[in-house]
Amino acid sequence: MRIRFGNEAEKYDVIVCGAGHAGCEAALAAARMGADVLMLTGNLDTIAQMSCNPAIGGQAKGQIVREIDALGGEMAINTDFTTIQSRLLNTSKGPAVQAPRAQCDKKAYQLRMKHVLELQDNLSIFQAIGEDLIVKNGVCQGVKTNLGVEFFSKTVVLTAGTFLRSVMHVGSNKNEGGRMGDHSSKGLSKSMEDHGIKLERLKTGTPPRILGGSIDFEGLEEQKGDVDPTFFAFYGTRENYYRDGMFHVEHLEKDVGVGWVPGTQERSCWMTYTNSKVANVINENLHLSPMYSGIIEGTGPRYCPSIEDKIVRFKEKAEHRLFLEPEGINTDEWYINGLSTSLPLEIQALILREIPGLENAVITRPAYAVEYDFAPPTQLYPSLESKVIGSLFTAGQTNGTSGYEEAACQGLIAGINAVNKVRGDLALVLGRDKAYTGVLIDDLVTKGTHEPYRMFTSRAEHRLLLNHESSESRLFEYSKQYGLIKGQRLESIENKIVSIEEWRGKFESTRPEGFEGKTIGDLIRSVGSLPIDMGKILPNEFSDLDKSIRDEVFYKVQYRGYLEREVKQVKKLKNIDNIKIPVGFAYEGISGLRNESIEKLTEINPQTLGQASRISGINPSDIGILQVMIQAWQKKQKS
């Protein structure tokens, strides 16, 4: 379909501005829901670029990627089909906190995603740098590019990544740009501020890239992928990809030209460590780091610190571990995980010289820090629509998060809700008990963030309910309701859920002979304390089921007590989550609320009492007072 511009009468339903991990999910979700979508990106060759490390997943992030797959997104399958190493993390712990992580071929990842976008119905992609938001009567109606071309739409999803007023630092050298080799967008920042959106600064960084041929692997510790890899996408419910426990090459999406059968291109990572010599180099040159000389003002990610940060903050630690990660199968560039820095290039070279295995490393790209604008996310509704500019949705680093996965899940929700907005449907807001995605968005819009926000399992108070295996069945009601998954897969998931429930019931009621009347469930829960051969107890039909079903049944039975406890906690919280704060309810002048509380509540404008209770600084007694006042307010409205 032709690209439509310059004509207000030819509006797209959704324009997605930005083609990173958030933008891709937003555009695909909206288009797959049947909306008319345009994606704008400053550079078609950097779609879905992994600007930092060539890996997807990891603790809490891996769970998010599986949720994305459950909600019809692309990140999971794109990762699986371009992965060069898969590992399940935390296998020493229980299934709830295990998470898949994959090294990817970063170019293959990008190319495959680009191709998927190109093939998607209802979606056009176009190279143009967004420079200005078109806002009329407080409602966003499109995007104007740096070439002065206007694209009109009913909603805009802005996923600008690190590109807003971005500055890169290598030592004292400063360059404008959101990523080495790319541009910076000043116009969008100005446009947002002109229309009343507050912006603040954040900082992030990336390590140097080096040539694999220059690494001396001798003596370094090798890290291989799992022999039996855990994938991100759910294949048990997908006929096209996977049958009889096997991937079928002929069934790979036949139009997408990039990618391979998951697990067929395994590569190793390697580990090395910093030492006291590295610490000396850094300490001697700390004044050259723009972070420490005060040039960088943005707040960096506490959980992904630069190497100079680690040396300064953890003086007692003699060595810091570094992972050497290959960036792909058709390149010899390697990523040094753990060595992010903004020190000058010559110091970077000095540091490498002291690290075992990297003594002769050849740098292909320097490490750098990047500072950028973000819009504090308390300016958003839980739908990710801006409270300041109507019909404008934002996702990813623009909202203050860090990480591809965090960005992607927001993009997905923003895309879905842009379509809901166009259609006048209720927004999709996932509960904190339903998904990490729900926890993430609720944290952002309720608490805001002052540093790049990264997801952790401990942020989820109902973590045990959010095990990665259950994503597909857990989120089924939403993927069905919003038309995110269609056809055969939808049916398969429904069958899967029925089957899980059936077997769970059977396990709790079947009493195999010879175990003093205990149920299979009782026996599963006492495994470890009793020597039981489960294989002899489980019915044959169960063993024939798909592994994903068996795993979920086992999980639900084995952790029944804990899951019930969390469900009970969820129900308790639901009481106040279900109390809606009436539109127009004024906090000003409520006696008993402290001024700080009034300010916070007015600023965040929570939708429910539950959301109000999660605002930082709002305490239980504030909620007690609000509860009384809301009742009084409603009584007054009625009379």
């Binding site: 603790q59 020493s92 571990r321 399992t457 007694s621 909620i623 007690g624 009384v628 009084a632």
Partner: protein, 452 residues
């Protein structure tokens, strides 16, 4: 928007020197300007003002002294007024009715304290202490309530919670950073902390026994052979014929319980079936009930007939009694004129009485008083004392902590240990009133008196 302005009488109904009427909420000009002809912005807080109280219809209802408390500096945390009028029910009721005409409404039981809680003047344990303080009947009970009102229990709970959070933080680090090069996970530290926290929770739980003694009364059990005179002694102590007295041994098959007050302590005196070998099934069941009661009792009076040789006591009873919790009462000294019976078990305090001649009863009461004092003092090591509501939560938390410790030993995944610890943490929050539960709060404050 504001909460309703509430009013009530803060002193008991009836004739008295003065009566105090309490008002809390927005003191609109309708109240201040109307009743006292004074503007809100002119009124000086915390000053006693002598003034006429004018009704809506313009009549002087009484000459009163009022004190105004501003905002946070009041009991409730909102603007409050205390009106001291003459202690005549008619006058105080007229003033209250006038205040209702001016837009106030009658306060519900405990509503002032509930507002103090909502306005963060008190945490929930402190609010409960207010009720305890009003009801305290002896010095020790007052002391315990006052400590709790100062927030000591709240502080202990908060300290336990922050210790739990520290343990949790260590566990969470290893769950959330599997790929960081953290030092090897060790469980000794977290385990030791949990053991300490569990011990503290148990100290709090044990303190409940003290509270029961203080508020519900000390359980004093009468033990002895049939016809030693236990029931007669009960009657003598209580001062009325409550128990059935008969010359036939074994009449008291069920418990008979009466209350009395000694040295301001509530004492529940419990009579038991006589202790002797018997073939009668009814009596046997009576004796086995006695054993149950022994387990729950705080103190004992072992009543013996000084005219006959002392009885052989069942082992369970021998084990339960000691010099610190038992007095040996030698009855019927009117029949036996020997100065003292050479009795078993040295170290016990012996009281010699004759019920028929009413001899030695006052001395016995004094001895019981001393026993209670020393018994209560043994618990003075408890800086705080928990109530039944706290016990429920603490018992739960204790179980969670024990579960967590067990899991460390059996090597179960740490996210499950974390789940137990989090549950304990949330539970302890209930004691402070952190988890908003309107039903629980309503229930709790409804047990207060009106005007508090």
């Amino acid at each position: 928007m504001e909460l309703d302005t509430i009013v009530s009488l803060a002193t008991p109904n009836g004739e008295s020197a003065i009566a105090v009427i309490r008002v809390s909420g927005v003191l609109s000009s309708a109240v201040l300007k109307g009743a006292f002809e004074v503007e809100l912005n002119k009124i000086k807080p915390r000053r006693a003002v002598y003034k006429n109280y004018n009704s809506v219809s313009g009549n002087v209802l009484d000459e009163v002294v009022y004190v105004y408390y501003k905002g946070k500096a009041s009991y409730t945390g909102e603007d409050s007024l205390e009106i001291n009028c003459h202690g005549n029910t008619l006058i105080s009721q007229k003033i209250i009715q006038d205040l209702i005409v001016r837009g106030c409404r009658m306060a519900e039981p405990g509503e002032y304290t509930k507002r103090a809680f909502l306005n963060e003047k008190l945490d929930l344990t402190q609010a409960e202490a207010v009720s305890d303080l009003i009801r305290a009947k002896n010095d020790y009970a007052i002391d315990v309530a006052r400590k709790q009102l100062k927030g000591l229990l709240g502080q202990e709970i908060k300290a336990l919670r922050s210790k739990l959070i520290k343990v949790l933080a260590v566990l969470e680090a290893y769950i959330d950073f599997p790929d960081e090069d953290l030092p090897d996970e060790e469980t000794d530290g977290p385990k030791k902390s949990l053991v300490d926290i569990g011990a503290k929770v148990n100290v709090l739980l044990n303190s409940h026994r003290v509270r029961r003694k203080l508020l519900e009364g000390v359980k004093l059990l009468l033990l002895g052979s049939p016809n030693a005179g236990k029931s007669s002694l009960l009657n003598e102590l209580i001062g009325e014929n409550r128990a059935i007295v008969s010359a036939e041994p074994g009449t008291t098959r069920d418990y008979i319980k009466e209350s009395m007050t000694i040295n301001n302590y509530e004492v529940n005196v419990i009579d038991t079936a006589g202790l002797h070998e018997t073939d009668s099934i009814i009596e046997q069941s009576g004796i086995s009930k006695t054993f149950d009661q022994v387990a729950e009792a705080d103190m004992f009076l072992l009543v013996v007939d000084s005219a006959v040789s002392p009885p052989e006591l069942p082992k369970k009873i021998q084990a339960a009694i000691n010099a610190k919790n038992c007095i040996i009462v030698e009855n019927k000294i009117d029949l036996n004129h020997s100065e003292s019976l050479a009795c078993f078990n040295k170290g016990f305090h012996h009281a010699r009485i004759s019920i028929i001649d009413s001899k030695g009863i006052n001395d016995l009461k004094a001895s019981i008083g001393n026993l209670i004092e020393s018994n209560i003092n043994e618990h003075s090591g408890y800086s705080v004392v928990v109530n039944t509501r706290h016990v429920e939560t603490l018992t739960e938390a204790n179980k969670n902590i024990e579960d967590a410790l067990l899991k460390f030993d059996t090597g179960e995944p740490s996210e499950l240990i974390a789940s137990d610890i989090k549950e304990a943490y949330l539970g302890l929050g209930n004691i402070l009133g952190e988890n908003n539960n309107e039903d629980m709060l309503d229930q709790l404050f409804s047990e207060f008196c009106i005007g508090k």
